[in-house]
């Protein structure tokens, strides 16, 4: 029998008045275990059963009646109203607070303490756009508002509000970044909007009463322009092969020359220098340039480092004969002003083919990545002078390509020597693109 049941039986016998000794004697094998339990049970059974006295009961009932009466009494109206209306009032207060806060933030203007909150809050729509194009468009929409804020603050105070201006440029930069991998048409459209920002900033700079503000606006305009150029260059479709002697028209680009700074190479594409060609190099002056000419640093300006007030038009534009080589799809901004019309004296009767040099670089580029490499601003990427066979006249070793092209020319573009309508003489040195 289980000990629990044996104990229960022993407790029944104990309650019936049997002596513990007799009980334990009937279970000698469990006596040692049962003894302390029966001892405790005997102690409990020997106790009286206390109960409340009548006085205690009466006092308790009086207390209960008082409590019941107090609970039954009607509460004052303000207490009832407070208990019922308090949650509603709290909710209403919270709603009013939120509405007032949002409206205050939304109506804040540059110079207000909470304008920074508005700048942050108005970027919220960007977060709920899920395609790069939509996000870029949303960034530009926000940048439009910041431009309006800059204009408004300038009109009222004559100064530039830095938070708004920074937000504008940040928006343009974000839009450019999001549009980086979009199709060319979309990129061109976005670049156009950014150029519009740059144009308006330039216009504001022209009318700014404060020279400092004008300078800030010019810097910002230059930066916006750089971003637009960088993006727009990638948006350009591959240029069709130009006919020999037909220089690129400034109107080919999507931006007017006046508003577009000179294209700045933004991606560094290592161009293998040409080895001395076994072919005779004609001393034709077509591409002859001063060999001592070195690229000026401002040719290598990066997009993000535009010196205020500096014209970004390239000052070193080597004379170039319009090339018959199709321009390969470019990853770097190609502005209309990038490809200069041939301005250097070119012998009127000198056929370009006479100075053509085979370009070994065409076959050496398949491994070139088409990725954009950003280079810290003002980090000069200079041309690598290449030894040139001695000629009667100093021959320029710089590539007379004013428009930085992507540089990835398919082998099919390889010009054929002796082609009468072939490409112009190939220089032995081409400027490296910098990002």
């Amino acid at each position: 029998m289980e000990l629990t049941s044996i104990l229960d039986e022993c407790l029944r016998r104990l309650a019936a008045g049997e002596s513990p000794a007799d009980i334990l004697a009937s279970h000698p094998q469990h006596a040692s275990e049962l003894a302390p339990m029966l001892n405790a049970a005997a102690g409990l059974a020997g106790l009286s059963r206390p109960h409340l006295s009548e006085a205690q009961r009466l006092a308790a009932k009086v207390t209960l009646r008082e409590v019941a009466a107090a609970r039954a009494a009607p509460q004052p109206w303000f207490i009832r109203l407070r208990s019922a209306a308090l949650p509603v009032a709290l909710v209403l207060a919270a709603v009013v607070f939120v509405v007032l806060s949002v409206s205050a933030v939304a109506s804040s203007q540059p110079g207000d303490a909470i304008y920074a909150l508005r700048v942050i809050a108005e970027r919220a729509p960007v977060l709920i756009r899920f395609t790069p194009a939509a996000r870029a468009s949303a960034e530009l929409a926000v940048a439009d508002r910041r431009l309006t804020d800059v204009s408004t603050y300038l009109a009222t105070s004559g100064e530039v509000y830095p938070t708004a201006l920074d937000a504008l440029l940040d928006g343009d930069a974000a839009a450019a970044q999001r549009a980086e991998h979009l199709p060319g048409q979309v990129r061109a459209e976005i670049a156009g909007r950014m150029e519009a920002h740059a144009a308006e900033l330039s216009a504001l700079a022209a009318t700014a009463p404060n020279p400092t503000a004008a300078e800030q606006l010019r810097v910002a305009a230059a930066r916006a322009n750089s971003l637009a150029s960088q993006l727009g260059d990638g948006a350009l479709p591959p240029s069709p092969p130009t006919a020999p002697g037909a220089g690129p028209s400034p109107s080919n680009g999507h931006t007017p020359p006046a508003a577009t700074p000179a294209p700045v190479p933004s991606a560094t594409v290592p161009v293998p220098t040409a080895t001395p060609s076994p072919l005779p190099v004609s001393p034709q002056p077509t591409l002859i340039a001063d060999p001592t000419v070195t690229p000026r640093p401002h040719l290598l300006l990066t997009l993000m480092a535009v010196t205020p007030g500096r014209t970004r038009r390239p000052t070193f534009v080597p004379p170039v004969q319009p090339s018959g080589v199709p321009i390969t799809p470019s990853e770097t901004p190609v502005g209309p002003t990038a490809t200069s019309a041939p301005t250097t004296p070119v012998g009127p009767g000198s056929p370009p083919s006479l100075t053509w040099t085979p370009r070994p670089t065409h076959t050496a580029r398949p491994e070139l990545p088409r990725t954009r490499t950003r280079v810290p601003p003002q980090l000069p990427r200079l041309h690598t002078p290449t030894p040139v066979p001695p000629t009667s006249e100093p021959v320029s070793t710089a590539t007379p390509v004013s428009a930085p092209t992507s540089g990835v020319a398919p082998p099919t573009d390889e010009p054929q020597p002796g082609n009468p309508g072939g490409p112009p003489p190939e220089p032995t040195r081409r400027p490296r693109r910098v990002g």
Partner: protein, 197 residues
């Protein structure tokens, strides 16, 4: 057989709605049903008659304040209401012990009224010592074990009655009783030879 009349489900189902409507007579009827049971439980746990009486009143004050939100178990009305009352009592005991620790109250058994079958002075002193130790030993038990001991030895309930009261099976009640007596025997100094052995 329990010394107090058993509480059946019909009594609770008729009194409780009246209490919830604020009927003071119904509240007093409930007090009469449960007061002594709760008092014994409280006395066993706090060891002080006045404190136990005050706490008994406090239980019913809390019942009055909170009975509007109490939902009766329709299948076991008396057991569910009883469980609610003892839960309130246990909370009050815990509060009482916390307060007592702060005030360093020490008297445990002076107010215990001991009635013995043989009320000799020697027996009275012995019972007082047992009760003093018992009050402390009861705190070492679980709540279910305390209630089983209280039902079996304070109310003279049978196993079946305790099982119904606590909503447990008779086997569970026997098991709880076994473990409770084991603990009490150990805590009350079971090593001492019982007087009857």
């Amino acid at each position: 057989m329990a010394i107090d009349p058993a509480i059946d489900d019909a009594q609770i189902t008729s009194l409780l709605p009246r209490c919830q409507r604020g009927d003071t007579a119904a509240v007093e009827a409930l007090y009469d049903l449960y007061a002594d049971r709760l008092y014994r439980y409280l006395l066993a746990r706090v060891g002080n008659a006045d404190a136990a009486a005050d706490l008994t009143t406090e239980i019913f004050v809390r019942v009055l304040k909170n009975i509007g939100g109490f939902r009766l178990n329709s299948r076991r009305p008396a057991a569910s209401f009883s469980a609610w009352l003892y839960r309130i009592a246990a909370n009050l005991v815990a509060d009482h012990h916390r307060q007592r620790r702060r005030t360093a109250e020490t008297d445990l058994s002076e107010d215990l009224r001991i009635a013995t079958r043989e009320p000799t002075p020697h027996r009275l002193v012995e019972q007082q010592e047992i009760l003093a130790g018992l009050s402390q030993a009861m705190e070492a038990l679980s709540e279910d074990q305390r209630l089983v001991i209280l039902g079996k030895f304070g109310e003279d309930m049978s196993n079946a009655e305790v099982a119904r009261w606590l909503g447990k099976t008779e086997g569970a009640v026997k098991s709880l009783q076994h473990r409770a007596l084991q603990a009490l025997g150990r805590l009350l100094g079971a090593e001492e030879q019982p007087s009857w052995s």
